[in-house]
């Protein structure tokens, strides 16, 4: 199965390990991701001002181009890309003014027909948990993993259609299928502070500290996410938190695709586990 794929800018640099582990783990499950021939930044954030159509142009162009590839599906893994592409697609489908303005500007005739998919959806709906279980083996047995969705995968609920806006379960289902143990913790859809890192880093540090401590207090040995900015904030901040709080225990923050890849025993170069601030490799020493 071959599906068009939009990597997103950060997956070419800081989150190269997300890109590699996504392609490799889906590849091992029989899903080949075919990168779009030409793409730009998606715009990262959906404009919440009703009159800001310019903020939707980049995403609309990507969606319209994707509609000309493959069977009309498009996979993207970064939570920012997924959120803005899905919301812009929803706007084009449901808001005639957005559709007209964007099509006129782009000189396209796009009506929102691209079906945007997250790899978690591909794994659940196309591959299936049973097949994952049979392929995963016992590699991760006993590992306690907190699934951190952040704010972008699930909200707003109607547009994202990614499960309950505050209690999605698809990542926990994956963790179970991989033979590991999902940790129930109350911060899984709380915000990490996101881009406020640049404006108010103290906000990010306090948010991250609360999320990490909550996960650890509920027994997690690792946290997984699909967002490169969540991953960065949660990972990068730990050394700074430790400086002010010597009692703080660091916890590795992985992409869910790295955990999947580890369960599938993919080669180390596909996982990029060495590219983290808090080294996750001790989790997998038994492998």
């Amino acid at each position: 199965m071959r599906i068009p794929y939009f990597p997103g800018c950060t997956l070419y640099t800081k989150a190269r390990n997300l890109d590699n582990s996504t392609r490799a783990s889906l590849g091992a499950l029989g899903v080949e991701l075919a990168e779009l021939p030409q793409w730009t930044c998606c715009g990262t954030v959906f404009p919440l001002a009703q009159d800001n159509y310019m903020g939707m142009v980049a995403a609309a162009r990507i969606l319209a181009n994707a509609a000309k590839e493959g069977d009309g599906r498009l996979v993207t893994v970064c939570s920012f890309c997924y959120n803005v592409l899905k919301r812009v697609n929803y706007a084009i489908k449901n808001n005639p003014e957005a559709k007209n303005k964007l099509n006129t500007y782009l000189e396209e005739n796009y009506a929102g027909e691209t079906r945007l998919l997250h790899p978690l959806e591909v794994i659940r709906d196309e591959v299936g948990w049973e097949r994952i279980k049979s392929k995963a083996g016992e590699n991760l047995k006993g590992l306690k993993v907190a699934c951190y969705y952040g704010c972008l995968l699930t909200r707003p609920a109607q547009e994202m259609a990614f499960g309950d806006p505050e209690n999605p379960t698809v990542m926990e289902e994956l963790v179970c299928a991989l033979g590991a143990e999902p940790t129930v913790f109350p911060h899984k859809t709380k915000c990490c502070g996101s881009y406020q890192l640049l404006n108010s880093s103290e906000l990010v540090l306090s948010r991250v500290r609360e999320i990490l401590c909550s996960a650890a207090a509920h027994g997690a040995q690792a946290i997984i996410t699909s967002c490169p900015l969540c991953q960065f904030n949660l990972d990068w901040a730990q050394e700074k938190i430790e400086q002010n709080d010597p009692g703080f225990t660091k916890i590795p923050v992985l992409y869910f695709t790295q955990l999947l890849g580890a369960a599938l025993a993919l080669p180390a170069q596909n996982l990029g586990l060495e590219q983290h601030y808090v080294d996750p490799r001790p989790l997998f020493t038994g492998m």
Binding site: T13, C41, G43, G55
Partner: protein, 227 residues
């Protein structure tokens, strides 16, 4: 009637002039009395100094071209763009690393790109400016360098950018990083430099130095020209 055919009406900065049909914008402006002390370089379509914005009657779209290459048409409104005091970083290329971080250090505003494509639409070189900025944004310096290779630094892209990105300066940084730090060293050049240092051509040079002008001229006329 004859004059109607031979002369066209143009509007330079809003003022009406009649100029001979068939002139380039640059020559038409000179015909109209303008004297260029800048905004005019090679007159051959390479240097990019004479970026011009124009509009034809009955069309709301602004079009662009190089004044030295674009022929005037009847009813054309035009003006040459002035120098843009756009953001231009200074750096020591030798000390830089060919990474996204370097591009962002000098031009963080490039991440403000809206994807509006105004830059591509206005580029007189027909470059995919938006796409090379997209490549730069994802740290693909080689792609940004290759896609922007024919840039003539005219500045029209930056003049239209709603995000105030200076595309051509991002691009030249990408090309410099690529040329200095990414592209493989040219082996034949390194070999030749070694040969020169080893004195392989000393004898030939001293022979040439002793020749008179007529001998040199003869030698020059009979030289091998590489295809």
């Amino acid at each position: 009637m004859a004059e109607e055919k031979e002369m066209v009406n143009i509007y330079i900065m809003g003022k009406h002039y009649k100029v001979p049909y068939g002139l380039t914008i640059m020559k038409a402006m000179e015909y109209a009395g303008y004297r260029f002390i800048r905004g005019c370089g090679c007159r051959g379509g390479f240097c990019g100094a004479c970026g011009t914005v124009y509009r034809k009657p009955g069309d709301f779209r602004l079009k662009v071209g190089l004044a030295c290459q674009t022929v005037v048409e009847d009813g054309m409104y035009l003006t040459q763009i002035p120098f843009y005091p756009a953001n231009k970083a200074t750096y020591n290329l030798e000390e830089l690393t060919p990474t996204l971080g370097t591009l962002l250090q000098y031009y963080p505003e490039m991440t403000r790109c809206l994807g509006c494509n105004s830059c591509t639409r206005i580029c007189p070189q027909e470059l995919s400016v938006m796409d090379y900025i997209a490549a730069a944004q994802r740290g693909d310096i080689e792609k940004a360098a290759n896609m922007s290779f024919d840039c003539i630094m005219c500045g029209l892209c930056a003049s239209r950018c709603p995000a105030e990105i200076v595309q051509y300066n991002v691009a030249i940084l990408a090309r410099r990083l690529y040329g200095r730090h990414i592209a493989p060293r040219a082996q034949h050049l390194a070999k030749r430099v070694e040969e020169i240092k080893a004195g392989k051509f000393d004898e030939e040079i001293s022979r040439l130095m002793k020749m008179d002008r007529a001998e040199l001229q003869k030698l020059y006329d009979a030289r091998d020209i590489e295809p």
